[in-house]
Every structure is written in structure tokens, then in C-alpha cells.
């Protein structure tokens, strides 16, 4: 998904980044990379389209009532599992509720969980990763070993184990369980980027000029190591939406009356699902949002990685 046409100019940028003078103005040089990337991304349909889809779903999450006249709880048992028909394009679920309205009102929880997990994992990864990568020694060993331990546990298994002993499973509980097992890859990415940034000339220059460690980390290391982590975080949004749907489907995620796409997919009994395939519809917004986040993340990664140019 890299765009070979727009490649060359940025290599010059990178060379400029390498000089000591550029190191003192970390933010200005960050802006260079970002504005270059933005120029590429703006013209990349594989970035623009996904972002538009994400924007649309964000609006749906904030204002579900704009998209349907019915409430999520306008149900009529007489119409239980009725197929799609005029005025109710997606048909009804088992309780006779309009499936479209319920799908619309489920958007908020699904996106919110992904956002909470991704933002928290991002903060943990950036702080822990930059400290471990920059300071090294025992801090690094400790954090890296901890990440190794957690990394060996598959996300779904770990989240199931944690959530299973939680009695009230709301947004925060589900997000927390997912967060526990999602930070290690991001932390490792940040740490390895910091390790390579630490050796650059502008960091050495800053150190030679007598800048404190804190200042070097905050002003020089973090801004220059953020790009890959941000691209990864975008993809992680998609991963979490999918993971939430999966653990909820397995019965360990959000519980009714809370609504999420996973809840909608988990409520119809399996046998019924085989006879009324329209109940599978909530999988469409799951696929659409995951697809958008993965595509946008890929485009971001390619645009922000000077090596790929």
C-alpha cells in the first residue's frame, strides 16, 4: 500500500533529521514527517475512504437517534425473528425488536471499548516503552520480562479467564480485561523504536549540550518514536472491536441490557441463527469498522515509515 510515486522527497527530510541542529527542534522536525505523511495520505483512497467510514460510525455512536426513529427497546414479541420487510429493512430479532435500531444503538459500546483499550494501551506503551528503552538496565529487564510473560497468553483466553470471575461486566470491566493482554506488543514496538532513536546523533547532541534525561525523553525521543506506535494503535482499534465481539459471543463480555454488536450476535441461539440468517447482520458493522481501522493503520504505517519509501 506504499505509494511509490511520492517517495523521494522524504529521504531528504530524513537526512535533515539526522543533523544535530534539527535535533534541538524536535517538534518542528516531527511536523516535517507528519506533514509529508499527510500530503501522501490525503491523496490515498485506501486511507481517505476508511477514515470516512470511521467518521460515519463515530457520528452514529454519538447520535444514534439521528439514524433511526425507533428506540432500541421498541419490541413486539409477535414479530419475533421475522425476516426483513418494508420499514424494517433488517427484520426483527428473537424478542421482536427492530434489528436495525438495535444495531445502530450498539455502535457506541463497541467503539467505546475499542477506544478505551487502545488509548490506555497507547499511554502504557509510550511511557513504559520510552522509559525502558531509554533508561535500560533493570527497568528495561523488568518491563521486558513482564511483557514476555503476558505476551505468551493468547488475548481471548486471558480475557475469558479474567472476565469469568467478574460478576458485573460493564464497559470498564471488559475494557480492563482486554487491556491486560493487549499492551505487550505495543510496548515492544515502542521500546525497539526508542532503542534506535536513542543512538541517533541529535539525541547524543542533546546529551552533550547537557539536557536532562527527562527533557531528552519528552522532547526528542518520544516525538521521534511515536509514528510506528500510532499506526499500530489504529490497527489495534480494529483488533479490539473484533475481540470484544468474540468474547461477548462466547458469553463472557457485556451482558444484556447493555448493547454492543457482540451482544446482538451472541443472543440468538445457534440453531435459530441457522434458520434466520438475517440475525447475522450485526457482523457487517463489525467487519466494516475493523476493515477501516486495519486499512487506515496500514496506510498510516506506510506513510510514516521512511524506510518503505
Amino acid at each position: 500500500m506504499s505509494d511509490p510515486r511520492a517517495g523521494r522527497e522524504v529521504e531528504v527530510e530524513v537526512d535533515v533529521d539526522g543533523t544535530p541542529e534539527a535535533g534541538q527542534e524536535a517538534t518542528a522536525e516531527g511536523a516535517g514527517l507528519w506533514s509529508e505523511a499527510w500530503r501522501d495520505l490525503r491523496r490515498n483512497p485506501l486511507f481517505v475512504l476508511p477514515v470516512l467510514v470511521i467518521a460515519l460510525f463515530t457520528v452514529v455512536a454519538f447520535f444514534p437517534q439521528w439514524f433511526t426513529d425507533l428506540g432500541p427497546r421498541s419490541c413486539d414479541l409477535a414479530r419475533s425473528a421475522d425476516p426483513p420487510q418494508a420499514g424494517h429493512w433488517l427484520g426483527f430479532d428473537r424478542q421482536g425488536c427492530d434489528l436495525y435500531a438495535r444495531t445502530v444503538f450498539s455502535t457506541r459500546a463497541s467503539l467505546l471499548i475499542a477506544l478505551i483499550v487502545t488509548v490506555s494501551a497507547f499511554v502504557i506503551a509510550v511511557i513504559l516503552g520510552s522509559v525502558a528503552g531509554y533508561v535500560g538496565r533493570w527497568v528495561d529487564t523488568l518491563a521486558a520480562r513482564l511483557a514476555d510473560i503476558v505476551f505468551g497468553i493468547p488475548l481471548i483466553v486471558g480475557a475469558l479467564v479474567v472476565l469469568n470471575v467478574v460478576a458485573d461486566r460493564g464497559l470498564l470491566q471488559v475494557s480492563g480485561a482486554l487491556l491486560l493482554f493487549t499492551w505487550p506488543p505495543m510496548f515492544r514496538l515502542m521500546r525497539s523504536t526508542v532503542l534506535s532513536v536513542r543512538e541517533t546523533e541529535y539525541v547524543q547532541a542533546a546529551r552533550a549540550l547537557g539536557a536532562s534525561n527527562l527533557r531528552i525523553i519528552v522532547r526528542h525521543v518520544v516525538p521521534n518514536a511515536l509514528a510506528p506506535v500510532i499506526a499500530y494503535a489504529t490497527v489495534l482499534m480494529g483488533v479490539i472491536i473484533s475481540a470484544e465481539a468474540t468474547i461477548t459471543f462466547l458469553g463472557a463480555g457485556l451482558q444484556l441490557p447493555a448493547l454492543s454488536w457482540g451482544v446482538l450476535l451472541s443472543t440468538p441461539p445457534r440453531t435459530e441463527l441457522l434458520n434466520t440468517p438475517h440475525l447475522l447482520f450485526p457482523a457487517v458493522p463489525v467487519a466494516l469498522t475493523v476493515l477501516s481501522f486495519v486499512l487506515a493503520g496500514d496506510a498510516l504505517r506506510d506513510a510514516l515509515d521512511p524506510k518503505l519509501r
Binding site: R145, D148, G152, I153, I156, A245, A283, A287
Partner: protein, 310 residues
């Protein structure tokens, strides 16, 4: 080489201890009383509960419990099930159920490697062609569908339409693993195809490929011997990592297709807070994952002559 492997094996020990402790603590230290839950609506007599607690060391502090447990594990005793299959040894349960899971994982692995690699290689060789776009489009779609959705769609769209493809159980032999295998492989297959495509495309641009072409080697040999072999390094890394993903994916697939394997048991055990079963099996998952990664690191030396372990 021998010393390298030994060092890696030793490094595995702290990771294993950490992982087991984490899972153990989550299962036992968090609220909820599995012994009281055993009786359901009619509580068990206090004496019986006490006896069960005594037998499973549930009255000891967490660390002591864990130490006793690990002491037994080292001797090959993973404890016995508390509720899922009461009284049965975890090792016995695993011995009972692993054939189904291993067959499922193998079928998925074969699908993943055959389809994923082929799609990736073809796409890379015909960059920008219709086939390339088809591969890129279909793989990104597969990546965005959770495994359970793919599984349900396969059941509805394929299984119910063709009588000879079973949608549940393993009674019909090898063909029973067809749909679950595809479902389980779907996401990994798509990632593998994308990875193979990108990696091969990168190598096809490399200088040594131009040299090989320039000295007159046939295209098949340039691609097969030179470019492909060097493209396999990230692919093999991914496959090792993916083994862990496949194993946890069996929980979902075995549930939906009603297969009686390890994944199904883990799921039941988590629901019923059967701590010994969960800890035992998850530990095995982690062990498989760690060993697979070790094997891959050793394989690197075979794939890439630049890498040597003293």
C-alpha cells in the same frame, strides 16, 4: 548450537513460571467460590466443602497453593479437575481430547500454508494484476471478520446447502474438519498471504535477484531458490507466533462446530471456574508457543546463512 538451545530453554523457565502464576492467581484469588458453586441450589454440607478445600489446598495462602501446585507439575502431575470432569486428572483430560484439537489445528495449518503461501506468491509475482488485487481485497476482508462470524457464515452458507459437509461433531470422519479448519485458518491465512506478498515483493527488488537474473538463471530458479527462500524468514516467524493464535482460536471453533477437543474443555473450565484445568491447559498452550518460537529461531540458521549461533 547445543549451548544456544540450552540457554533458550533455561530462559523459558521464568516466563513459564510468570505465566502460570498469573493465570493461577486470576483463577484463585478473584472473588467467587467454586466449591460453594458445586452444590448449585442445594449447598453442600460444610464437612464436604471442607474436605474438598483440603484436598485441593484451597485454604492455603495463594503463594503456598501455587508453590504446592508447581511442585506437582514438575513431577508431571497437573492436578485433577474440580468440576468440568470431576476427579479426572488434567493430563488424562488432555490425553482424551488432544487428537481432535491437533487434527483441527493441522487441517487449519495446511489450509493456511497452502492457500496463504500460494496466494501471496502469485500476488507478488503479478503485482498490480487482477489476481493481485483479488488477493489483497479478499485477504483484507477475511482479516476484518472475527473467526466466529466466518464460522457461522460457513455453517449457514455452505454446510446447510451441501449434505455431505457436516456442520457439527466429528462422526463423519475427516470431512468433519473441513469447515472448522477453514474457519479457524481464515484470519491467519489472510495475514500469511499479505505477509508473503510483501516480503517476496521486497526481495524481488533486491540486488541479488538482479544478479541471479543477469547471470542467466531461469525465472523459476531465481524466484524459487533465491527470492522465495529469503522471503521465508518473516513468514516462518509469523507461523510460529500463529500457532498460539490457532490454539486459542480452537476455543471458538470447537464451540461453534461442537468438536470435543481441548478448546471446548478450556471454555467449559473457564465458565465453571475449574482452576486446575484452566491453568494446566493454558500452561500447555504457552509451552507450545514458546517451543515453536525456539524451533523457529533454530530454523533461521538454516534459512539465512548470515545467522549463526555459536
Amino acid at each position: 548450537m547445543g549451548r544456544y538451545i540450552l540457554r533458550r530453554l533455561l530462559q523459558m523457565i521464568p516466563v513459564l513460571i510468570g505465566t502460570t502464576f498469573l493465570i493461577y492467581a486470576m483463577n484463585f484469588a478473584l472473588p467467587g467460590d467454586p466449591v460453594a458453586a458445586l452444590g448449585g441450589d442445594r449447598p453442600l454440607p460444610q464437612e464436604v466443602q471442607d474436605q474438598i478445600r483440603e484436598r485441593y489446598n484451597l485454604d492455603d495462602p495463594l503463594l503456598v497453593q501455587y508453590a504446592k501446585y508447581m511442585g506437582n507439575v514438575v513431577q508431571g502431575d497437573f492436578g485433577e479437575s474440580l468440576s468440568v470432569r470431576r476427579g479426572q486428572d488434567v493430563t488424562e483430560i488432555v490425553a482424551d481430547t488432544w487428537p481432535v484439537t491437533v487434527r483441527l489445528a493441522l487441517v487449519a495449518f495446511v489450509f493456511e500454508i497452502v492457500i496463504g503461501l500460494a496466494a501471496g506468491v502469485v500476488a507478488a509475482l503479478r503485482r498490480g494484476s487482477f489476481v493481485d488485487n483479488l488477493v489483497r481485497g479478499s485477504t483484507i476482508l477475511l482479516v476484518s471478520l472475527p473467526i466466529f462470524v466466518t464460522a457461522l457464515v460457513l455453517q449457514v452458507a455452505v454446510g446447510l446447502r451441501f449434505d455431505w459437509i457436516p456442520v457439527a461433531g466429528t462422526q463423519q470422519g475427516a470431512v468433519s474438519y473441513l469447515l472448522p479448519g477453514i474457519a479457524l485458518a481464515s484470519v491467519s491465512l489472510a495475514y500469511l498471504a499479505r505477509l508473503t506478498r510483501n516480503s517476496l515483493m521486497e526481495n524481488l527488488r533486491a540486488d541479488y535477484v538482479r544478479t541471479a537474473t543477469a547471470k542467466g538463471l531461469p525465472r523459476s530458479r531465481v524466484v524459487g531458490r533465491h527470492a522465495l527462500r529469503n522471503s521465508m524468514i518473516p513468514v516462518v516467524t509469523f507461523l510460529a507466533f500463529d500457532l498460539g493464535v490457532l490454539l486459542s482460536g480452537t476455543i471458538v471453533t470447537e464451540g461453534i462446530f461442537n468438536l470435543n477437543g481441548i478448546g471446548g474443555i478450556v471454555f467449559d473450565a473457564i465458565r465453571q471456574q475449574d482452576g486446575t484445568v484452566v491453568v494446566g491447559i493454558v500452561t500447555m498452550f504457552v509451552l507450545v508457543y514458546l517451543v515453536a518460537n525456539l524451533i523457529v529461531d533454530v530454523l533461521y540458521a538454516a534459512l539465512d546463512p548470515r545467522i549463526r549461533y555459536e
